[in-house]
């Protein structure tokens, strides 16, 4: 996405430009808040206080952050392979189905020490397989991964609905959800663990999946920038024909990138299904797959950036809920709007302001060079 014609120092490209685009998105969002007759200042105060001002709020914020780290990493890995994975939603759904099927089957018989790692593997494998199909179709059959992953999102939702309505719903139950899992399949909640060590922490959905998310970040960083396989993947992403010429088979890399991407998205199932719900429900992903696109764009496809961007979106989600309680006329869908604006300004229009910064930088350096010239002369 970078342009060779624009001369800019790295920090401008990596820090200033994203922050500037974020600022524009937030300003437009502020305009919308004004339009609905609420006060942007009040909304922002309540938002920050609700998300970060209390231990309970922080717990919720970090719980959302966990999910967004998984989907953000998923989009980023695919992106490094030169692919745009819009299918996080479906892959996460399949991850949840994997956790649920395994837990309903084995949890009554196995202790949690065995069960939880198995659930993690199941989530990753289901997500991986679901993403590998569009990957295969792109690499070998030439169908575009963007279109197929959109279709696969709907297919995943249909599959989840079918399984729940026809197979997993307990007899006589009206609500469309599975039986609750046995306790051994539950990802331990952070407040329960802390209570065991005598630390008081209010109850929140935050669970050990956050550790898994951070481990996933480290793994993705190591994989992409330190491992041979990751280097090959990035090589294909930046120039498939050059990579092919260098003896890399791009087809397998497309498959690998989509598979890893899907596995990461599938881990959302660990946080949502094993960590919070304790049963399979309809539409538990709730748009997190799409938020992952915004997270990856904001985080510049780097694990560190993704953690920061996930924190931003976690804050927005948790804070948005609080604002909708406190401020009349404000609804939590405002967050979806903000997310869309961020994708628009930080993604599609990322380079709109770049020439301005390049000019600014050129003007500044010229001035300082002129000043240097004078002092030398």
């Amino acid at each position: 996405m970078s342009s060779q014609a624009l001369q800019m120092p790295r920090w401008m490209d990596l820090v200033l430009l994203p922050l500037w685009n974020l600022l524009i998105a937030l300003l437009v969002a502020g305009g919308v808040v004004l339009l609905i007759g609420a006060s942007p200042g009040q909304a922002l105060t309540v938002l920050l206080d609700g998300a970060l001002g209390s231990a309970r709020g922080l717990g919720y914020t970090l719980y959302y952050t966990t999910t967004f780290i998984f989907t953000g990493l998923a989009v980023a890995v695919a992106f490094h392979g030169g692919l745009f994975n819009i299918g996080g939603e479906g892959q996460a759904t399949l991850g949840g189905i994997g956790v649920a099927l395994l837990s309903l089957w084995l949890a009554p018989k196995l202790p949690s020490v065995v069960m939880i790692p198995l659930a993690i593997v199941a989530a990753a494998c289901f997500g991986m397989l679901w993403a590998a199909v569009p990957g295969y179709l792109q690499a070998w059959r030439g169908s575009h991964v963007v279109i197929t992953t959109i279709m696969f999102n709907f297919l995943a939702a249909s599959l989840n609905g079918y399984l729940l309505v026809n197979w997993l719903r307990p007899n006589g139950s009206m609500s469309v959800e599975s039986d609750a899992f046995a306790d051994s399949a539950r990802m331990p909640a952070v407040h329960e663990l802390l209570a065991r060590f005598g630390v008081e922490w209010p109850s929140s959905p935050l669970n050990l999946s956050i550790v898994l998310a951070l481990l996933a970040c480290v793994f993705v960083w190591w994989f992409l920038w330190k491992s041979r396989a990751g280097y090959v993947l990035r090589a294909v992403g930046s120039n498939p024909s050059a990579a092919h010429y260098a003896g890399i088979r791009p087809r397998w890399q497309v498959l690998a990138a989509m598979g890893l991407s899907g596995a990461l998205a599938g881990l959302v199932g660990v946080n949502e299904i094993a960590g919070v719900q304790g049963k399979l429900t309809l539409d538990f992903v709730a748009g997190a797959g799409f938020t992952g696109i915004a997270v990856a764009l904001m985080g510049r496809n780097h694990p560190v950036g993704i953690v920061l961007a996930s924190l931003l979106f976690g804050t927005l989600y948790q804070g948005g809920v609080e604002v909708s309680f406190e401020v009349p006329g404000f609804s939590r869908e405002m967050v979806v709007t903000v997310q869309g604006l961020i994708v628009l300004f930080a993604g599609a229009m990322a380079m709109v302001s770049a020439p301005m910064f390049a000019k600014l930088y050129a003007a500044l350096t010229r001035k300082s060079r002129a000043a240097q010239g004078k002092s030398h002369g």
């Binding site: 819009i86 059959r141 279709m151 405002m334």
Partner: protein
């Protein structure tokens, strides 16, 4: 009874096909000019909201339609500004439009109407109803009255407009000079540029037409099919339309048949629930609803013919200087 069933399935097929057809033709115009349009869903949703909000407040169908078209064109222009003028990623821009529309329609709906994101119901005087009200119900015992009358003649003006537009779009693309240029810019923008025709202007023109059609498709949902706007009421129709357009291989007439097929599946999905088909058994309703997506994936994979997209699709054009 048969004639009543056939007539009502035919009528509901045409009704659910209409918004798909508007959106699919909109996508077709944009994509033939080389601009990917993932944002059909968002444009339809925003247009549906604008139509319902304006029609229920102004008590005017015309203003509702104009608002829908205006909003959809506006969104198309944002898309054009990001992808044509500034060469942003067309897919990312479309995804962004979908998100903004999904969020903003609910936010504004709650703030303005305080009905949980719904708009107030539109008065029946402002709704688009069948041009020939005598056929609004099938006539038992009369094949003509049920199938031709109720099935084909009971619809509102937008339904007939959608089907007429298939011919218009075909004629425009295949038989007129601007249509030829529009197709050329989707295949080989450099050549069009060399011939002295502005690539951005052509692509913006395609996007304006796209906005008009998306606006009509969205307005149909609130002014004709339902009486008010409810959150996320497009429910994936924009993506089905995208699928239909691909299934129709970016050509108007095949796209029409794809829309009819997907509309038919939608119309019979509920009727087939719990029905055991001979030789197949009971088909889960989820499978029927998923069929358009499955068929599109299978088509794209080249298992049922090739789907050849315009060559310059999704590639921003950079003029050589």
């Amino acid at each position: 009874m048969d004639e009543v069933l056939i007539g009502s399935v035919l009528a509901s097929t045409l009704r659910v096909t209409t918004p798909l057809l508007f959106a699919a033709l909109a996508g077709l115009l944009s994509e033939r000019s080389g601009v990917v349009d993932i944002g059909l869903e968002g444009k339809m949703l925003a247009a549906a909201f604008a139509a319902a909000a304006v029609a229920s407040v102004s008590h005017s169908t015309g203003f509702g339609l104009l608002a829908a078209i205006g909003v959809a064109i506006g969104m198309s222009m944002v898309h054009g500004f990001a992808c044509v003028t500034h060469r942003g990623d067309q897919v990312v821009s479309g995804v962004a439009l979908n998100m903004v529309a999904a969020g903003l329609t609910v936010v504004l709906g709650i703030a303005w109407f305080a009905q949980g994101g719904q708009t107030p119901p539109i008065d029946s005087a402002q709704r688009l109803t069948g041009l020939l009200p005598q056929w609004s119900e099938p006539v038992p015992g009369s094949w003509f009255g049920s199938v031709v009358g109720h099935g084909l003649l009971s619809h509102n003006v937008l339904v007939y407009l959608a089907f007429a537009l298939v011919a218009v779009v075909w004629f425009f693309l295949e038989r007129t000079r601007p249509g030829l240029r529009l197709r050329a810019v989707g295949e080989n923008p450099a050549m069009v540029d060399a011939a002295g025709v502005s690539v951005p202007r052509l692509r913006y023109t395609a996007l304006v037409l796209n906005g008009v059609l998306c606006g009509l498709g969205g307005a149909y949902l609130t002014l004709a099919q339902n009486a008010s706007f409810s959150p996320n009421m497009t429910a994936g129709r924009g993506f089905i339309a995208l699928a239909a357009m691909i299934f129709g291989k970016w050509k108007p007439v095949p796209t029409l048949f794809a829309c009819l097929l997907f509309g038919f599946l939608d119309a019979v999905a509920i009727r087939l629930q719990g029905v055991s088909l001979p030789g197949i058994g009971e088909v889960p309703v989820q499978l029927i609803q998923a069929l358009p997506y499955i068929l599109t994936v299978v088509l794209l994979a080249g298992f049922i013919g090739q789907a050849i997209a315009p060559k310059a699709l999704s590639k921003p054009y950079v003029k050589e200087r």
